[in-house]
Symmetry: C2
Subunit: 359 residues, 2 copies
């Protein structure tokens, strides 16, 4: 007879963070017994899941700060489990779209078991294309999940690339950057990436097919590095970092260039008054640039189109994809912290449980 309860471990935010997050800002709580069926007391439409993979994403850092102003996403609540994208097995469901046994990706909790309640359940999408196709389940935290759609929308919709254009990608070995680089190459663009270590720069050039790459930490003058890589300027900048890199890029953009503002990870650990100064916005007029901020949830309707486009490229090996997998909930906080120090190589995620071990 199957167990009716299980021990649920949770990673909670202990307190709001200033500066870089540290281990003591989070805590792994052990020992709560939770039922393995919905009890009927949950809101209608709730879904109980066994979490399998959790995603570490840069956007989670602003949610760790004391909420000062409205944003597109609410701050975490100290004492509650951290929430984020993940892959999970449905154990019980009062959502008619989902049934026990289904695999899903979407917003879940940093814990072994989560009860996902409406309206957050709308982000749970059933995984149909796993198995038999050589597609690891974990890919739904990345290339087949939020970062994948982010890269696709940001590059193809926001940047509107044309064959032969020049593309620069920062944080280029990360979950989104590695995909943008490859999408750019597939679109016939000349693509250069920046990253923060020699190992990552090698990965960009050998594994992901960037035409060139540089280690921004070893460049005394970012503007000179960009000029070297783009003697005729940059048509498209896929912005993942902000700050000094953005300021240098602005001066190296070409007329009618486009900047997809996806992330500003260099700024997320700085207080409001300490954020890096951007001073070269005059280039926005002189070069007639378009800067467009975007977030993936606004573009969910494009997911089926993206999935159909990207799956064949994954299956036939056209697209490479590198993950950095931390093992177990006990390593989750360290993995998330590492993201802000560039310790991950490729998409950072956490394996919570093997699917076979799902209750």
């Amino acid at each position: 007879m199957a167990a009716t309860t299980a021990t649920n471990r949770r990673v909670i935010l202990k307190e709001y963070v200033e500066g870089y997050p540290r281990e003591e800002h989070m805590e792994l709580l052990r020992g709560a017994e939770v039922p393995l069926r919905l009890t009927g007391t949950e809101p209608a439409g709730s879904v109980l899941v066994r979490n399998l993979y959790l995603s570490c994403d840069p956007y989670m850092r602003p949610k760790m700060s004391r909420p000062l102003r409205e944003s597109y996403t609410a701050a975490f609540v100290p004492g509650d489990a951290i929430t984020g994208y993940g892959v999970a097995r449905v154990l019980d469901s009062s959502d008619p779209r989902l049934a026990p046994g289904d695999l899903v990706w979407g917003i879940t909790g940093w814990e072994d078991y989560s009860v996902v309640t409406p309206p957050v359940t709308k982000f749970l999408a059933k995984i149909s294309h796993h198995g038999g196709g050589g597609v690891p389940l974990s890919y739904y935290t990345g290339i087949l999940g939020m970062p994948g759609l982010t890269a696709y929308v940001g590059f193809h919709e926001i940047c509107a690339p044309k064959k032969g254009e020049t593309v620069f990608v920062s944080a280029a070995s990360g979950a989104v950057g590695q995909l943008v680089g490859q999408f750019a190459r597939l679109a016939g663009c000349h693509v250069v990436g920046s990253a923060g270590s020699k190992e990552k720069v090698e990965l960009l050039k050998t594994k992901f097919g960037f035409h060139d790459a540089f280690n921004y930490k070893e460049e005394p003058d970012l503007g000179a590095a960009l000029k070297r890589c783009f003697p005729d300027g940059i048509d498209i900048y896929f912005e993942n970092v902000g700050g000094a890199m953005l300021d240098a890029v602005l001066l190296n953009m070409r007329v009618h260039g486009r900047i997809a503002v996806c992330g500003l990870i260099s700024q997320y650990n700085l207080a409001d008054g300490e954020k890096d100064a951007v001073r070269n916005l005059g280039a926005v007029i002189a070069k007639r640039l378009r800067l467009q901020g975007f977030i993936e949830p606004d573009h969910k309707h494009l997911y089926p189109q993206y999935e159909a486009w990207v799956l064949p490229y994954i299956r036939d090996g056209t697209l490479a994809y590198v993950e950095d997998v931390a093992e177990g909930l006990e390593s989750a906080s360290k993995a998330l912290i590492g993201l802000f120090h560039g310790r991950n190589v490729g998409k950072q995620l956490v394996r919570v449980a093997d699917d076979e071990s799902s209750a």
Copy 2:
């Protein structure tokens, strides 16, 4: 018998400017005798004009700096007459589009008589709608010229306004700002402007029909002023100033807001390293903002459409338009300098000669 030569006065840039331009950076040279016909030694397609009105525009300031990098427009050449938009009478022409007696607006020199040579002649447009319609000729330096098309393109094309949206305009009593405010009102938007004096703020509210306005020099906290005027946020920002105002606006934008980056006059007199820090670009992602730089020359093809749209509004008094006219070439440099201190009220221009006195 008509004179065959005339005395030509010219306003030259004496040296490149750092900081705010001062009278000693320019000089009015008197006394050169110039022929009143083309001599045949000019490049084919040249046009000789008698200048009537000259326009003082903020974009002229970057052209007064030592050229450090490519821009959309070349720096002025010390020793040469300053160039800019103006209204003129054609005296002689080897451009088949233009004949003696024609009135034109476009790029000319800060002098009594100019020989405009190709390719600059492409900016000379024949004035067809002057006279008999209550349209002052000087309007072709403003509402019917470059600033008018700038306001039209920036607001209607770049900002894509929808009825009921909120619009903020900085430098709102200037040549472009006063028009954007009125275009916004005509489009059914709620429009607020900022300016730098009590007199200008009154003008915005009484003459130009802004729903509200404030004097940015008297606001200790620009963000608080914007919050007061836009409790629910700003959908459209028409950017004329940059710097601290842009930083404050970013935090007060609404989701999916649009910023037409037209000018950054607060920054033009600052050296590269001294330009104001913009630190709130995180809002570009959180609010999914679009910042779009633009310049009027890219949109010349829309001029006939704009002229046909705006002329009836001028003639029936729907649109108000305020000019600040400096008298004579001898006051031109002071008028241009005043623009960067906000001394002008309305569109700053210089009357060089009455049309009747054209040679």
